[in-house]
């Protein structure tokens, strides 16, 4: 009788610990291994904000990315912009659409259950736009004759430009599946339409061009929602 009870005690102790152990293993499995995969879609909110605040700008941009592997995302942006260039000696306006497509690489190792990103990305950008030269003045160093201002609008249609860009940014999941992202972009022009006796002052998606180099810069601040499709 006494032996029987001792034996029972040890047997149950063994099973309890075994059971507890197996429960623990199941719990760690679900938490650590699976992360969400899906389509993240959103909009750049800095562009509508600039449209409100700046008289010479209107624009919007839709952003999307799709997780391919643990670290890689396919990413794309599509937008439309109009920018006026109203300087004392030159008035011009540019408008058009653009698309950028590429990949993002997340270099951030998330803690359990977090889905943030510090990422670098590459894009190929393409823009289709038109530009209007509205008025200009003639630059001269002499003051003997009155200055000349010409109001002879000329329109340049069917313009295109191509560029590559490097993107650096961070993404934070602020609510479940809702992300805020800020990024900066360094762009290098590959080609652009040549204008007859004028120049591309602005390229939608590329931003202001520069007389002295092929480089451009930009930034984005977007809010996006992840549509979870599967877990891996």
């Amino acid at each position: 009788m006494r032996h029987k009870h001792t034996l029972l005690f040890f047997i149950s102790l063994f099973f309890v610990t075994a059971f507890a152990q197996s429960q623990e293993e199941v719990a760690t499995d679900t938490l650590s291994k699976k992360t969400k995969y899906g389509l993240r879609i959103g909009a750049d909110i800095s562009k509508p904000l600039r449209s409100l605040l700046e008289d010479d700008y209107t624009g919007f941009e839709v952003v999307a990315d799709f997780r391919l592997t643990e670290k890689f995302y396919a990413a794309a942006e599509v937008g439309n912009e109009q920018k006026d260039f109203f300087e004392p000696n030159l008035n011009a306006t540019t408008s058009g659409s653009y698309a950028k497509i590429g990949v993002d690489l997340n270099a951030h190792n998330n803690w359990l259950g977090l889905n943030n990103a510090i990422f670098g990305g590459l894009r190929y950008g393409f823009s289709s736009f038109k530009q209007e030269l509205l008025a200009y003045s003639i630059y001269t160093n002499n003051t003997v004759f009155p200055p000349s201002v010409r109001i002879e609008p000329r329109e340049f249609n069917g313009l295109t430009a191509h560029w590559v860009e490097l993107v650096l940014g961070v993404k934070t999941e602020v609510l479940n599946n809702l992300y805020l992202s800020i990024n900066v972009q360094l762009k290098r022009k590959l080609s652009e339409s040549e204008l007859d006796n004028f120049d591309n002052i602005f390229i939608p998606g590329f931003n202001s061009t520069n007389d002295f180099s092929e480089f451009g810069a930009g930034y984005g601040y977007s809010i996006s929602y992840l549509i979870p499709l599967f877990q891996k």
Binding site: N116, I138, T140, F145, N210, A217
Partner: protein, 159 residues
Amino acid sequence: MLKKIAGLAAFFILITAGCSKDDICSQDTPTTPLLIITFNDINNPTQRKTVPGLTVRATINNQNVVNASSTDSIAIPLPTGADITEYRFIRSTNSEPVSDFYTFTYVREDVYVNRACAFKTTYTNLTAAGDGTADWIFRVEVNNQTIEDETQAHLTFFH
């Protein structure tokens, strides 16, 4: 790490939003060229000859572009808004000043420079016609009908 990147991003936005080299038209940028005139000796046409006390005055508004200077070459502006202009060339030696009127005609063209300087005007088919009195300028020769730069003389006056 996140804070550092946010700081870097803010800095980057600031520098890209600020003013750039493009905003100011540099004095070194060739804009609307001046008409270059040299003065040569009528008796020895290949030799430069200084004009004493030369004054050049735009007839349209009586403004001087050259004021009583002794020189053998001048650079004077052409209007960017008219296809014809007249100048009065006055030579003042010890005696009475003498003057000749010359009328320049040309075809204008506006050429894009860059976003800071906007456009410049260049001139083609330059012609020069005197008033026929030849008070001190006896002959004119157009060396270069096209005024696109200021590297060489476009006109030579012989006196």
